[in-house]
Symmetry: D3
Subunit: 78 residues, 6 copies
């Protein structure tokens, strides 16, 4: 009966994508539900998964909005 | 001083609606605030309610995005 | 397939109780699940409810921990 | 390693704005990350902040959607 | 920079255990972090995981506290 | 009417403390409520703050429970 909430920034995982794709969402849902079956023996039918996409200007890290933080750190995507 | 968070899929409750209506939201807010008054004696003024609507492709059940799960199970709406 | 999260302070609703009782929790679970059936036509079997009890020193209102806030305002319980 | 979630209604803080601005979001992210450094000695790099903007019709207070509640109470913005 | 929240009932996954073990928690943390790397290319260092264990009397399903629901349905663990 | 949720590990901020103290909690509550007043003009009375303390074995970073991650990285506290 687990509930899994996955929060990510609303952006693509590779060049050309500007958001998480439906296939990627399905892979997250399938993968984490399977993990709860494998580790805690929770039936697939008992697990809810909610994916929340968050605008990059609404996500902070290092005291900065995430895009400013990445620039400061020379990071690409995370 | 309760906080109630209600997460539902973003879709209509009956044919012709494609999302939760303002009236339905008001009924949820009023009903759950009243419940907290009745059961725990919490004044209406002390209760916050937040409704979060989640795209169906962002909601997983049974290891699948919810629309695929409903199809597999022959369910209509839930 | 709704998820309802109810956050309340960990304290009793009447003199002699120092926490929410099992009966009160059952009443919250039953009441809010029924509300989602009545308002949005969600089957009872599709609704998860999670009650989170929060220590009063971990809850803030009016810029103060809630017990200090109540004292300042002359409130009893909320 | 703290996670701070800030939920506010999606509306402007002053006349002419209809939502929280990018500058205001940056000020919230910077301010709360600094607070965690000052109070708990958490490095800025260890703090995540997520801002969630909630439509006013999805926010309830006093048993009513928030705009109806404000009208009833003669409040402007909160 | 994802945040994953995993909510489960506070109980053991097999006879003799009365809660989720530290090893099971480590397997959940490692597995879901790897999933986010595999599916969305998120570096392990950018993912936070929070596991929340919820008392069974605080978890509702089917309009009932979960232990009553399981009894009604003849379920064991989920 | 904001809601701020602050999640931190359950541990002390300095040697000799094994958890967040009541004074530190009050400083977090007061500080973040003031921040919302300063930045978004939200009255103190309209802000709720909830602090959630999470056991270190329930918090993951870098694919590991946080204490293992700190050891791997040579970190002390974060």
């Amino acid at each position: 009966m687990p509930i899994v909430t996955i929060q990510v920034t609303r952006e693509g995982s590779k060049p050309g994508n500007d958001s998480v794709t439906a296939d990627e969402k399905a892979a997250l849902i399938g993968g984490v539900s399977q993990l709860l079956l494998d580790v805690l023996n929770k039936p697939l039918d008992s697990t809810f998964v909610v994916i929340q996409e968050v605008e990059t200007e609404n996500w902070g890290w290092g005291g900065l909005p995430v895009e400013a933080y990445r620039k400061q750190r020379g990071l690409k995507l995370d």
